[in-house]
C-alpha cells in the first residue's frame, strides 16, 4: 500500500477500519501516515467529546414550561386565525355574490307631455309630487312659457299622474274656473 492509497482511505473511512490489514501494516512502517492518522484521530475524538459536552444555557424545566405555555397560547391564536379566515372568506363570497347577482329589473319608464288647460306648470308639478305614491320615481320637467309639463314615470305612477291631470285640469270641471289650491 502506498501513502497515496492510505491517505485516500483516511479521507473517507472511519478510523476504526484503518486498524486492520494493509492499512495497519502501512502505518506501522510509515511515520508520516501514522502521524497524520494520530492528528485526525485526536481531533475527531476531541470534537466528539466537545459535541457530547455542549449544554444549553436553558434549564430543561424552563424549556418544558415555556413550551407548554407557548403551545397553549398558539392553540388559542389558531382558533382566532380560523375564525378570521372564515370571516374573510364569507366577506369575499358576499362581495362576489353581490357583484355577480343580476340587479333587480327596473320597471319601464313612460314619458308623456301634458298640455295644461287651467293649472300652471308649477301647480301641476306640486300636485303630482304630493299625490303620487312614490314621488322619487317621477321626473317632472316644467316648460313655463308653453304651459306644459313633461312627466317621466313608471306606468303605475303615470296612471296616477294622468288621473290627477284629468281631474284637476279639466276645462269642463268647475275646478278649472277657480284657483286651484294644492290639497294637503
Amino acid at each position: 500500500m502506498t501513502c497515496d492509497d492510505y491517505l485516500a482511505m483516511l479521507e473517507t473511512l472511519p478510523l476504526d477500519e484503518l486498524n486492520y490489514g494493509a492499512a495497519r501494516e502501512h502505518t506501522a512502517l510509515c511515520h508520516d501516515c501514522n502521524r497524520v492518522t494520530r492528528v485526525v484521530a485526536e481531533r475527531e475524538r476531541s470534537m466528539i467529546l466537545a459535541f457530547g459536552d455542549v449544554r444549553s444555557s436553558m434549564a430543561a424545566s424552563d424549556v418544558a414550561q415555556g413550551a407548554v405555555a407557548l403551545a397553549r397560547r398558539r392553540r388559542v391564536a389558531s382558533y382566532y386565525k380560523i375564525g378570521l379566515a372564515f370571516a374573510a372568506v364569507a366577506t369575499v363570497v358576499a362581495i362576489m355574490v353581490a357583484r355577480v347577482a343580476p340587479a333587480p329589473a327596473r320597471a319601464p319608464v313612460a314619458r308623456e307631455v301634458f298640455a295644461l288647460q287651467c293649472m300652471s306648470p308649477d301647480q301641476a308639478a306640486a300636485l303630482i309630487r304630493i299625490h303620487v305614491r312614490d314621488e322619487k320615481r317621477v321626473s317632472i320637467r316644467i316648460r313655463p312659457p308653453l304651459g306644459v309639463i313633461d312627466v317621466a314615470a313608471p306606468s303605475i305612477e303615470m296612471l296616477q299622474v294622468r288621473a290627477l291631470i284629468d281631474r284637476y285640469d279639466n276645462a269642463s270641471q268647475t275646478q278649472c274656473k277657480v284657483q286651484v289650491s294644492v290639497p294637503r
Partner: protein, 195 residues
Amino acid sequence: MTGLSFPTTVAPGLIEPLELIARMRHGDDAAFASLVSAYQPRVFRWAMALTGDADEADDITQEVFVRAYRKLGSFRGDGSFEGWLYRITRRAAGRARRMAVPRAVALAHDVYVTDPGARVDRQRAVTLIRTIAETLPMRQREVFMLCDLEGRTPAEAAAMLKMKDVSVRASLFKARASIRRQILATHPSYREQSP
C-alpha cells in the same frame, strides 16, 4: 400556567417515549416534562450542529418542544420518537435559517462546557463544530453529526433522515473528506511539519 412537576434529568434510553406520550394524551404535563428532560440536551446539540450558534440553538430547542407538545397527538409511533423529534428540529432549524437576521459573531465561550480542565481543546473542537455548521452542506452536516459525532450507523441515520442508506454513506464520505482536510489544514503541528 401551573408549574410542572419536574423530574431530574433522565437519559433517553431510560424512558419509554410511547408510554409518556400516552400519559400526555390524558393531560399529564409532567410526562411532557420528563420527555423534555430526556431529550433537551440532544435536541440542543442537533440545533447547535445545524446552526453553529448557541443562542439560535436555544431558540430552536424551545421551538422544537413547542411543536412537539402541539403535534404529539399526530405521532403514530411507527418510527422512532427520536427520529420524529430530529425531523422537527431540522424543520425548525431550516425555518430559523430562512428568517435569520445576521447575528454578531458568537463568542467561543457561549457554549457551556462542563469540563474546565479540557477547555482549550474543547474550544478548538467547538470552533471546528461551528466551522462544520458553516461550511458543510446541510445533508453532509446532518449525516456527519448523526454518524460520526453521535455514533449512529448509516442505516440508523438513514431511518432518522428518511433517506436511502446509500445516500447517507455517500454524504458521510464527502463530509469526512471535507472535515479531515480541515483538521489537517488547521492543526498546528501538521502545518509546521508538512512540506
